[in-house]
């Protein structure tokens, strides 16, 4: 527990913890999720509702491209879109970079899940005179929620371990910080900085942080597996 609630000590003192990185990771991921989940799900709905239109073709292509963009390039982009205009490294810019990485996974899983639903469900709802948005939110999304949810979880699991986009955006911070407009630490950043440092105390901290990060990611993945198995979703 000591390890989880304390901030790192300066070089030369033993002890210390990773509270700043843990809190930073949680805040950055939460903000990224708030940005990416609504946009991702709505885009997925758009793609599954408009399969043949020209915009849908380009949109699908863009999502494919986005999925293959190296994470370091997304870091550069976030640097020029947010860090430079705002005048300094900030956790918010890191969140935006991670949100861009989450989008393609959420869009894809939403689209694939909704495509599998039988048309008769939607037709029945329309026949009852429901308006389009209510058909989507009261019929389509609740039926496909397990697939959408597992996409969201997978995307969170993926960005939890991302370091490269955070190097030039969230930057890292040795102190506890909750201000999203200031630099903030996160678990992968702390591991990178301390693992490449020459000090043994810091290596120990990095090993501990690695364990926490690994457990977190594995938990998310296994949890997602269980959901998909229980609700029999194909991803």
């Amino acid at each position: 527990m000591h390890f989880l609630v304390n901030i790192p000590k300066p070089v030369g003192e033993t002890g210390g913890g990773i509270a700043n990185a843990l809190l930073g990771s949680i805040i950055i991921i939460a903000v990224a999720s708030v940005i990416a989940i609504p946009i991702g799900i709505l885009t997925g709905i758009y793609l599954s509702e408009n399969r043949k239109s020209r915009l849908a073709y380009w949109c699908r292509l863009s999502v494919d491209i986005l999925q293959g963009v190296p994470s370091i390039v997304i870091g550069i982009i976030a640097y020029f879109w947010l860090v430079k205009p705002l005048g300094g490294f900030s956790a918010l810019s890191g969140s935006v970079a991670l949100a861009i990485m989450m989008l393609p996974i959420i869009v894809r899983s939403t689209e694939e899940t909704l495509k599998l639903l039988p048309d008769s469900l939607k037709e029945a709802a329309f026949a009852l005179g429901m308006p389009f948005h209510r058909v989507i939110f009261k019929v389509i999304v609740p039926v496909g929620i397990s697939g959408i949810l597992s996409g969201v979880m997978l995307s969170i699991a993926r960005i939890t371990g991302e370091t490269a986009p955070l190097l030039f955006t969230a930057f890292g911070n040795p102190y506890l910080s909750t201000n999203v407009t200031k630099p903030m630490s996160s678990l992968p950043l702390l591991i990178f900085n301390y693992a490449t440092s020459p000090y043994n105390d810091w290596h120990d901290l990095a090993w501990g942080a690695s364990l926490i990060l690994l457990l977190w990611v594995l938990f998310l993945n296994i949890f997602t597996k269980l959901i998909t198995r229980k609700w029999k979703v194909q991803l």
Partner: protein, 329 residues
């Protein structure tokens, strides 16, 4: 009840008069409210449909924006250095000399070496899980483990490589008589190989499971052994799919940053052998981006990012096309 309301084809102007003529005051208020509500619903529906279209447009704008930002920001270096930037052999920001060749070479070497190391493993796993034992608890465990390999964060691979793999490689290097550095292209290829096995393996597995069983049964009926069936039916049938899996894992390896940065040694000299330390495009960006103090320096780094972006996008697109064609057949 007014029929024109029930039909849903009422217009705003004609409706209130007819309703008012036939109803008591309370009923009029009620009907008016209902009409208001349905107009509101129609408006919400239109707004919702428009929002969906806007979301679709946002995705396209996002990708175009990324490309545009990269191009605009690397313009100073494209103007100042020209195309010879790509095969310039010296990278020395202090002297204002920028040549990307050491990083291009480092990226290509480490990625292809990783690919060569990983292909036997990923194809073996794919055949084992797809053909020999598609069901059962042991294959299931193996399948999930392989997928979890892909889920481990790259910074942890890097740390593990630095602490465990690099000393082993250093030991090996001193045995075979090269300079025992430990860090270098070979170490990063090993790490990359472990990281990319799951992509080719899980894709290959699903491709192999899609081989129609009449084909295989025909071969068995002709007296072929299991190995012959795999060699002359399954592998030829799935070769485009397996190739696509390898391409996708190459795309992964090219863009991988953290694990490589931590074990490749980070020198901007052209690597003399696969054991020498070097640098990849992604790792040099990660190392020097925040230190770049001159405009040309920064924009040369961004040009590297642009090259990386274009290469990975092209490779991913080709891979996806092949898979789409394969699954549609």
């Amino acid at each position: 009840m007014d029929t024109s309301v029930e039909n849903g084809i009422v217009t705003r102007s004609e409706l209130p008069l007819r309703v008012i003529n036939s109803k008591t005051p309370e009923a009029i208020v009620k009907t008016k409210n209902r009409i208001k509500r349905s107009f509101r619903q129609i408006r919400t529906e239109n707004v919702f449909k428009r929002t969906l279209v806007i979301m679709g447009i946002i995705m396209v704008i996002l990708v175009l924006g990324i490309l545009l930002t990269l191009v605009v920001q690397s313009l100073p270096s494209i103007k100042a250095l020209g195309p010879k930037y790509l095969w310039g052999k010296v990278w020395d920001p202090v002297q204002d000399v920028y040549g990307a060749w050491p990083f291009l070479l480092g990226t290509l070497l480490s990625s292809f070496l990783a690919l060569i190391i990983s292909i036997p493993f990923s194809i073996a796993v794919a055949i084992f899980l797809g053909e020999y034992y598609p069901n059962g608890w042991l294959p299931n465990l193996l399948k999930n483990t392989v997928e979890l390999i892909a889920a481990v964060p790259s910074v942890i691979y890097g740390f593990w490589g630095l602490a465990v793999l690099v000393p082993i490689v250093r030991n090996m290097e001193s045995h075979i008589g090269v300079e025992p550095v430990g860090v270098g292209i070979f170490s990063s290829s090993l790490i990359l190989a472990v990281m990319i096995i799951p992509y080719a393996a899980s894709l290959g597995r699903s491709m192999i499971q899609m081989v129609p069983s009449p084909l295989k049964e025909g071969a068995y009926a002709l007296g072929a052994t299991r190995w012959e069936v795999i060699r002359s039916v399954v592998l030829p049938y799935t070769k485009s799919g397996l190739f696509a899996g390898v391409l996708l894992s190459l795309g992964r390896a090219l863009g991988e940053t953290m694990a490589v940065t931590m074990v490749i040694g980070n020198t901007s000299i052209i690597p003399k052998s696969i054991f020498a330390p070097g640098n990849t495009m992604a790792s040099v960006i990660a190392n020097e981006f925040t230190e770049a103090d001159k405009a040309v320096y920064l924009s040369a780094l961004i040009e590297l990012g642009l090259v990386l972006f274009l290469v990975t996008v092209v490779i991913n697109m080709i891979g996806k096309r092949i898979i789409d064609r394969f699954t549609n057949e």
